[in-house]
């Protein structure tokens, strides 16, 4: 559950947004849209606690930390897919079994790439390594900054399917995306800079 009230943010003498009020409940999606430079990423960084130069209240009520997927890939070039995912998972919660990691990688279409260094992968594959966390960890909240960029059509489809499962299980998703979600669930949309 997320509650936001009176949220305003000014950056470089430019007002990005003012007095935002919204809440996201389990089973809901908050879809943040807006043109380039409207402050979508800044809002997401505020919600995930990375950016602190704002006024207003952001209240999370969560049993675990959210899964945050930012602009940057978040994987290390010098580590293999398996090592990267293992690291990301053990940092976020208790260590996970090796078989679970391989299974999660297989689900994002990286079977056979477990031992490949991420530096040798394509942009989309690197993103998939990070997205594999969505199959591996049990976190209620997902905070995703353009999760579909650099992902192919089939990948987008399976990711949407995973999002659907997550929502059915009582999870909540906050995402920035330039494309509309093909999900039957309640999608709350927030337009910035309008």
């Amino acid at each position: 559950m997320l509650n936001v009230s009176q949220l305003s943010c000014e950056r470089d003498h430019r007002l990005l947004f003012e007095n935002l009020e919204f809440s996201v409940a389990p089973g809901e999606v908050l879809w943040i849209e807006g043109s380039n430079g409207a402050g979508k990423t800044t809002l997401l960084r505020i919600l995930s606690g990375l950016y602190t130069d704002y006024t207003g209240q952001v209240n999370w009520d969560l049993p675990q930390l959210p899964i945050y997927l930012g602009h940057k890939p978040g994987v290390k070039d010098l580590l293999s897919a398996r090592e990267n995912l293992n690291w990301l998972a053990s940092m976020q919660q208790a260590p996970v079994a090796a078989t679970a990691i391989d299974a999660a990688l297989a689900k994002v279409g990286l079977r056979g790439f477990e031992d490949v260094l991420c530096g040798a992968m394509s942009e989309g594959q690197r993103k998939r390594v990070n997205l594999a966390r969505l199959y591996l960890l049990d976190s209620v909240a997902w905070v995703l900054d353009e999760p579909f960029s650099a992902i192919d059509v089939a990948g987008i489809k399976s990711l949407e399917q995973r999002m659907g499962e997550h929502l059915d299980a009582g999870g909540l998703i906050i995402l920035i995306s330039h494309q509309r979600l093909a999900l039957p669930h309640a999608i709350r949309s927030l337009r910035l800079g309008a």
Binding site: G49, Y68, H71, V75, L78
Partner: protein
């Protein structure tokens, strides 16, 4: 504590795969020291006098050279922001990173020092004091350097700024350590110096990771 070991293991693995970046500061250390006999004088009496200072200044500069590596790549690829979403305190991750930084920079430098002491005509007791001073002193350099690295990681050109921020903080360590080696060379008792260095190490172990964790948060919030 489990996570601490995980961080150290991860950092060492990355360091191992990125060996060139790690060898650079160590090579720099050796080369700078070997330039002094050529530049000043190869005579035994001169080198014996300036030796401790040369080795320690070279250690400071080589630590400084490696300091930018501590957070730079993690910042660039987004690993650093992922680290703030950890179930254990961020402080622990920072401490793990600093520890592994010392293991791959300060420790090799310390282990190499007896050889360099020999090159600069230090006697046996002096070489021993040098080794001990580096063993206690280089972790302090890593700890204090991390503060500067954390504050400058968000800047494009942080390299020089780190030097300005951090070198003044290294001064007490430099003074104590070189005095300790000088005393050692005259076969004197340097327990006092060692205890002072140890006190600085204890103090910076307590506070530096805290400051570094704050610094990283500030750098990420840009």
């Amino acid at each position: 504590m489990n996570l601490f070991m995980t961080v150290v293991r991860r950092e060492l693995l990355i360091a191992y795969r990125n060996a060139a970046d790690l060898l650079n500061p160590l090579l720099f250390f050796v080369i700078v020291i070997s330039l002094f006999p050529l530049g000043i004088s190869p005579s035994e009496s001169v080198l014996r006098q300036v030796g401790p200072g040369i080795i320690w200044v070279a250690a400071l500069l080589s630590t400084l050279l490696s300091m930018d590596l501590l957070f730079r790549s993690d910042y660039d690829d987004g690993s650093l922001e992922q680290m703030t979403f950890s179930h254990e305190p961020f402080l622990l991750l920072v401490l793990g990173k600093i520890t592994s930084h010392w293991l791959v920079t300060g420790l090799p430098l310390t282990l190499l020092s007896p050889l360099l002491a020999l090159m600069l005509f230090m006697n046996e007791t002096g070489a021993k004091a040098l080794f001990l001073s580096l063993l206690i002193g280089t972790p302090v350099l890593s700890l204090l350097g991390a503060i500067g690295a954390s504050l400058t990681v968000g800047l494009r050109k942080g390299g020089l700024l780190i030097a300005v921020l951090i070198l003044p903080l290294f001064v007490p360590v430099l003074i104590l350590a070189t005095a300790m080696v000088q005393t050692g060379m005259q076969a004197g008792n340097y327990t006092g110096h060692m205890l002072w260095l140890g006190a600085i190490l204890a103090l910076s172990t307590g506070f530096a990771p805290l400051a570094t964790a704050f610094g990283v948060k500030i750098s990420l919030s840009n």
